[in-house]
Symmetry: C3
Subunit: 207 residues, 3 copies
């Protein structure tokens, strides 16, 4: 049981590290800069979650995550010779997997640490979106969450679905996987069909 969550967590770290490394490929980053950007993206959200919850930061407790990130970044550099050739969508999809995984796993960890439902869902959202936010801010790109495609909603949905499935008495594993699938499906659909909720305001010339 713990097993599954552990592998899902590692997978989330890998896809976020990949998204960070791909973003790095769009800048003149040397390999070490790539590693740093991959690491910030992959552990940023979980680090903020653990610090706010006052629990030991996950990668300090288990450095395996650092090696996984290092390996992911280096493999990206070695195998992807022309990151610019990789369609932008590929980065978006990697980010979507990380978003869905971390939003659900973050909610679960917070609940496990005794957080209330609302706090747990917020923690899940932070875990899912913060790493990508930091990646985008460092690269001086407007964070995805501030763009139109359903993003924050997908993260919140993941947390809410997990809570609901729990209430419905599903096993933790099943609840986790269904919640991840739900959040991922929503986000991927939004990317694929460029679906988006009605914006609070139509942006006009003035900025």
């Amino acid at each position: 049981m713990f097993e599954l969550l552990y592998w899902l967590d590692l997978f989330g770290v890998i896809v976020f590290a990949l998204s960070g490394a791909l973003m790095a490929g769009r800048y003149q980053l040397d390999p070490f800069g790539v590693v740093v950007l991959a690491a910030v993206t992959a552990i940023g959200g979980g680090t903020i979650r653990d610090v706010i919850l006052g629990t030991q930061v996950f990668w300090v407790a288990n450095p395996i995550y650092l090696y996984v990130i290092l390996a992911t970044a280096l493999l990206t550099i070695i195998f992807i010779r022309r990151p610019k050739r990789i369609p932008k969508r590929f980065l978006l999809i990697a980010d979507a997997f990380g978003l869905a995984l971390f939003a659900v796993l973050g909610t679960q960890k917070a609940l496990g640490l005794g957080a209330t439902t609302s706090v747990a869902i917020v923690m899940g959202t932070i875990t899912g979106v913060a790493g990508g936010m930091i990646r985008d801010v460092l690269c001086n790109v407007i964070p995805m969450i501030l763009r139109q495609e359903i993003y924050a909603l997908a993260a919140m949905l993941g947390g809410c679905l997990f809570v609901i499935f729990n209430w419905l008495g599903l096993s933790e594993n099943v609840a986790t996987i269904y919640a991840i699938i739900g959040a991922l499906a929503l986000r991927l659909a939004a990317i694929y069909w460029q679906v988006s909720l009605p914006a609070f305001q139509i942006v006009d010339k003035e900025k």
Copy 2:
């Protein structure tokens, strides 16, 4: 006594959430993005303060803040049909109220937790300015604190006034309110008359 501080704290959260939601109105954010930006602005400063002080984060201890932010963001979306029509100054004023309230309340909380005077004033400044800083950085806007109108000074003044009024033996409530009024008056005056301290350097073409 605690009562008053509690309501002032909630009021600070509301005005900062409002400033975040109004800022969101200047971008193509969907309702969930608006909620996220409002939340980051409203709890960012206090979260950093609590994490640095090593105390439990206030909104984890009391999730009511999250519901207040959610309500504020939704009401902003519902009632403000054309955020762009809202004069920029409105956002500045909401931000000024949050700045003054959080700078003083942050200083007070730090002192209550046994921080030294200098640390407490820095904590108050962080509480007052960090949320708005994160909001502006996420929106790729130069943070207000890096613009000319007296901003950092207003925050520091709030903390210093509270400390001084305490030394003068005023009741905590009175000291709090006077300090808030002092910081708020300074900041509002700076906004109204575009007052500003002599800059360290006149910006020239080169950037």
Copy 3:
């Protein structure tokens, strides 16, 4: 022994505060904005390190750092009448000293708190680069770590050298100083000769 590390730490705070103040001179910041930017640059990295390690934040434990930053910022304002006249390289060199010092001292502190080698080196890197990152992000400048000159590598090298020198049985003082010299030399050489590692990707028009 502690003595030396203490002074090196203070020196690192001073040079980073100086780099923050010089950066502030490139914007229309009032003296208080300069102090804030200097402070964020000087204590940002160490604060994140301490928070992640779950130890008391260094400047909360010992406020002397705050006074040192205040003094550095004010002296910069007083003595540097035309920050724009100061060659950009001066800011880079101050930043390089802070980077080397904090990367090594951060690694050492993490090891002293029982962190594993890999975690300690990551902590050192965070301590060395985070403050400057925040400074650059706040000023809406692409962080140095995302530019070409060897930067992340210099920070990691500092931490690795310290660990290696320790293994070789050098006294902590000697290991610290040699590691700092090594990281500093690499970074300064990179600045001086604009050396840089082969980038992961050549940036083309598209951005």
